[in-house]
Amino acid sequence: MNHVPSHILSADARPLTRRALAKLRTRKALLAAGKRLFTERGYAEATVRDIARAAGMSTGAVFANFTDKSDLFGEILANDNEALSETMRQIADIQKRSVREALLVVLAAGYAFHLKQLPLLQAAISVSWSHSPEDEARSRAGLRRIQSIIEEILHRGQTAGEIRKDADIDLIVDMICTAYRSNYRLAAYDDFDLDALSQRLERQLDVILNAVKV
């Protein structure tokens, strides 16, 4: 008990915790309302005011919790990305088959995740071309999680003698990630479903992996 600072144990700690909890609840409600409205309307059309109203709060509540709309949007994407990359990592860890198979199931999990809320992803990609350096850093950190999973699978392939030792892994990761992400366009505009996206990715992986196989 010695390491617990005394003010936490004191009586006035209680209201503070309650306030912190209330703040957390507010954030959660705003994030949920934001996610729903961004998905329904896209980034530009979902206003801070509408998001606040949908969460049953004032516009002021949004700005008390987030610097601005893009901060709220960025946090929604970051939370999603964390959940998705966690799923992908679990799949990658239990996936002991070939590099090709492992990449396919891991990235198909991404397609399955984003297809359920495609307009949100479209908005994210669109905004990402011109957002601030802070938002860019945050979105890059999110992408980095997925890239590192791909990287691990490729390294495993090198160890297993499937992929050439001298292969430029960073370049391959980048190209796989780019192909994976570009395919979302087809989901948005050509109604590609999970199967169609996966089949396309499979062909792309075949070409890329063929270039670096042993």
Binding site: Q122, A123, S128, S182, Y189, Q204, A211
Partner: protein
């Protein structure tokens, strides 16, 4: 009587010509503003002001800012196609080298107005209620040239028989577009973009090249 008829004809002719002139003024103003302010920063009102027309006249020609952007991007294709035509007779070297040259021409051309191009790429994913306003990667001339070079590789044995040429083209085009992020976010120069694309092409080409 005859004069009046003629008058009617030329009146509608004038109207058409005026509408065309408005369209061109709007496009020129929009192109400049997109380059100066970026796509998001340029409003329809600003475009109208710069073009010296009423905001309402903009909407008689275009339904949205996105549609103006698309028209601006379509107009620029004429210039790009001219450069590609100039390049075609000079294509030399290995199949991979030729592919690299074709893509390099694109970077040199688009990077003269990088903000315009990134606006175009971003708008590509913009939320629209229905069909896409802009179809991206749909530069038929570029696809055709890449395909021609790869087919040439099939006949001279540099490309493996049965190689998935269309998928290879998709990979190259998606990398090509995504590389602009490095220009937008990391300040890559045209020659750095070209260097990166060369690496990507030579890697992907091993996937379709003869062993």
């Amino acid at each position: 009587m005859g004069r009046e008829c003629e008058g009617d004809v030329s009146l509608s002719g004038v109207r058409v010509a005026r509408k065309q002139a408005t369209r061109e003024r709007v496009l020129a103003a929009a192109r400049d503003l997109f380059v100066e302010q970026g796509y998001e920063g340029a409003t329809i009102r600003m475009i109208a002001e710069r073009a010296g027309v009423a905001t309402g006249s903009v909407f008689t020609t275009f339904t949205s800012k996105l549609e103006i952007l698309r028209a601006v991007m379509e107009e620029r294709l004429d210039g790009l196609y001219t450069e590609l035509d100039n390049l075609a007779p000079h294509l030399r070297g290995s199949i991979a080298d030729r592919l690299c040259s074709i893509m390099a021409v694109h970077y040199d051309f688009e990077m003269k107005r990088p903000r315009l191009f990134t606006a175009y790429l971003a708008a590509n994913f913009e939320w629209t209620d229905g069909a896409p306003v802009i179809t991206f990667g749909n530069n038929p001339k570029l696809r055709g040239m890449l395909r021609d070079v790869l087919n040439h590789g099939l006949s001279n044995g540099e490309v493996r028989a049965g190689a998935d040429i269309e998928t290879f083209i998709e990979i190259v085009l998606s990398a090509y577009a995504m590389n602009y992020r490095r220009a937008a976010q990391e300040g890559y120069s045209p020659s750095e973009l070209i260097g990166l694309m060369d690496k990507q092409i030579s890697l992907a080409f091993r996937g379709v090249g003869a062993p």
